[in-house]
Amino acid sequence: MGWLIFRRLATALPSLVGVVVVTFLLTRALPGDPAAYFAGPAATAQAIEEIRHRLGLDRSLPAQFIDYIGGLARGDLGTSLTTGQPVVSEILTRLPASAELTLLGLAFAVSIAIPLGIFAATRPGSWIDHLCRVIATAGVSLPTFFTGLLLVYVFYYLLGVAPAPLGRLDIYNSPPPARTGFYLIDSLLAGDLATFRASLAQLILPALTLGIFSLAPLARMTRAAMLAALSSDFIRTARASGLTQGKIVGVYALRNAVLPVITTLGMVFSFLLGANVLVEKVFAWPGIGSYAIEALIASDYAPVQGFVLTMALLYITLNLGIDILYGMLDPRVGMAA
């Protein structure tokens, strides 16, 4: 087991190196003078020179790379021009907001997509089957930002059941004392039910938007995997042994079908981390996505670079987790001839 994890970590290493190299090159690929970019549009010639020296941009490329790695190792991702704060601390402060949103959205997607896929596979031709196939085909065509706006229009403007899309909490509530950064958890820990309800109310629409987006590939894969599992030879054996329908579907078929679904999760995460940015813009969510957007508009480059690097590292870690989970569930892994 430990050996499996070690091997997986080893395969993630080249990706890690690649990611760091690419983010480094992206900075240096800036058209014009990178120092000017980091100094910002309002900087004087002297300020630009100082920045150039401080960032080591006057040194050779390999030396700059060493500096860059050194900075990363120290946890230094540069400083934001607009706020003057170290990028690392700003990202860390905003990360829980994005994480809470993404996790809730994913939970919603999984809790709908997987049962939907299972029912669609066990009742072919029924309305559930058709619904599943429509969702799977149409879902991938939905632009995330459009869904978000539609939801706001219907539930906030027309029906009035959702709060205004103005961030994590409305003006009447203040954030709970920060323990995890997740408002839902922190408010429960503080015993503050009013804040809990308020944060949940703000979370629902954006999480729903993200969830709808991830629903399609998950439902499609669950249905396909269940159909494949249910038509395999070992299911026929199970039926011939008189096992109950529940056991056949829930244990024999499902556990086999779950494997390709887990693999799909990797792709879903890639989309989710990107869609996060769009959803945060629609709902004015103070996460790292909107952090990056604000920085982009203000031509503040260090936060954008930090954002890309952070997202990539997160993604690599998530994929690692998926690989390890898969290895734990499938005893055949590592037995490749």
């Binding site: 080249p14 990706s15 890690l16 690649g18 990611v19 190299v21 690419v22 983010t23 992206l26 900075t27 690929a29 800036l30 058209p31 085909t137 149409a138 991938v140 065509s141 939905l142 632009p143 995330t144 930002f145 459009f146 706006l149 539609l150 706001v152 229009y153 906030y156 403007y157 205004a164 899309p165 499609r220 894969m221 396909a224 995460f269 890639s270 989309f271 989710l272 981390l273 990107g274 869609a275 940015v277 769009l278 813009k281 629609v282 990056a292 957007i293 982009l296 508009i297 480059y301 954008v304 670079q305 954002f307 890309v308 997202m311 990539a312 993604y315 690599i316």
Partner: protein, 281 residues
């Protein structure tokens, strides 16, 4: 070839949805090609007296906050959106396929380098990488094309690599080799045409994704600048009016965007069923 066409007719006829998608596709191409001449109003003409009017007989999709006709803007935007998507997909297809077949056919260090590049790209969440590339290269439409091309490249490279390495030892390649053809010639003249149908299916499948990507980037303010009409940026411009109830400003561009992506995806599915029904899900 005849058999392929007959099979295509069977699939298209059998599946009325694919047929519908194809007609919709033609509509979009039509709009993109003839764009400005089809628009009833000047997409850039602002008329503040007409600002934020709901859909009416005169303005089918209503007007935006500057009094511009949304319907006209949407039609004209078709050319830009489809153009960006097409350009980036063609670029990704060309570069990715060449890289892929070289890697699959020659193997060795060529394969290692290409695989390393592809894996590095795939190590990023793709939209985030696109953001980073556009931020680094500059906020222009051309760079949107490059960024979208880069993030679609891995798909083509991987498929081309797999298909090329399967065909490396096949009969027709052996025959070409024995008749004295050089390796490069075999690659371009034998293998490439043979895998083209499979790659074309990928092209249609990724066109939809490319449009979504480009629209997403412009939604957050990258690439296209106002007053250029483009579906993504139009939705962004209309977003602030949703909470005050002027839904049409963001709704129609978003709807058209969705329909375009939907029709490309359906077409892609239909094409895949024609070319390789085994891959159906």
């Amino acid at each position: 070839m005849i058999a392929l066409l007959r099979h295509a007719r069977y699939v298209l006829g059998d599946n009325s949805v694919t047929g519908l998608a194809f007609s919709l596709f033609l509509l979009f191409v039509f709009a993109a090609a003839l764009g400005p001449s089809l628009a009833p109003h000047d997409p850039l003409a602002s008329d503040t007296a007409q600002a934020l009017h709901p859909p009416s007989a005169r303005h089918w999709f209503g007007t935006d906050d500057l009094g511009r006709d949304i319907f006209s803007r949407i039609i004209v935007a078709a050319r830009l959106d489809m153009g960006i998507a097409l350009a980036s997909v063609v670029l990704a297809f060309a570069v990715g396929t060449l890289m892929g077949i070289a890697a699959g056919y020659f193997g060795g260090w060529c394969d290692r380098i290409v695989s390393r590049i592809v894996d590095t790209i795939m190590a990023f969440p793709l939209f985030v990488l696109a953001m980073g590339i556009v931020a680094a290269l500059g906020n222009t439409v051309t760079n949107i094309v490059y960024a979208t091309a880069v993030i679609n490249l891995p798909l083509y490279a991987r498929i081309a690599r797999a298909e090329a390495s399967i065909r490396r030892e096949s009969g027709f390649v052996e025959a070409a080799r024995l008749s004295g053809n050089g390796e490069a010639r075999i690659l371009l003249a034998q293998i490439l045409p043979n895998i083209l149908p499979i790659m074309m299916v990928q092209v249609s499948l990724t066109l939809g994704y490319a449009i979504l990507n480009a629209a997403g980037l412009s939604f957050i303010g990258l690439g296209v600048r106002p007053p250029t009409p483009e579906w993504g940026i139009m939705v962004a411009e209309g977003a602030s009016f949703i909470i005050s109830g002027e839904w049409w400003v963001a709704f129609f561009p978003g709807l058209v965007l969705m329909l375009a992506v939907f029709c490309f995806n359906l077409l892609g599915d239909g094409l895949r069923d024609i070319v390789d029904p085994r891959r159906r899900t």
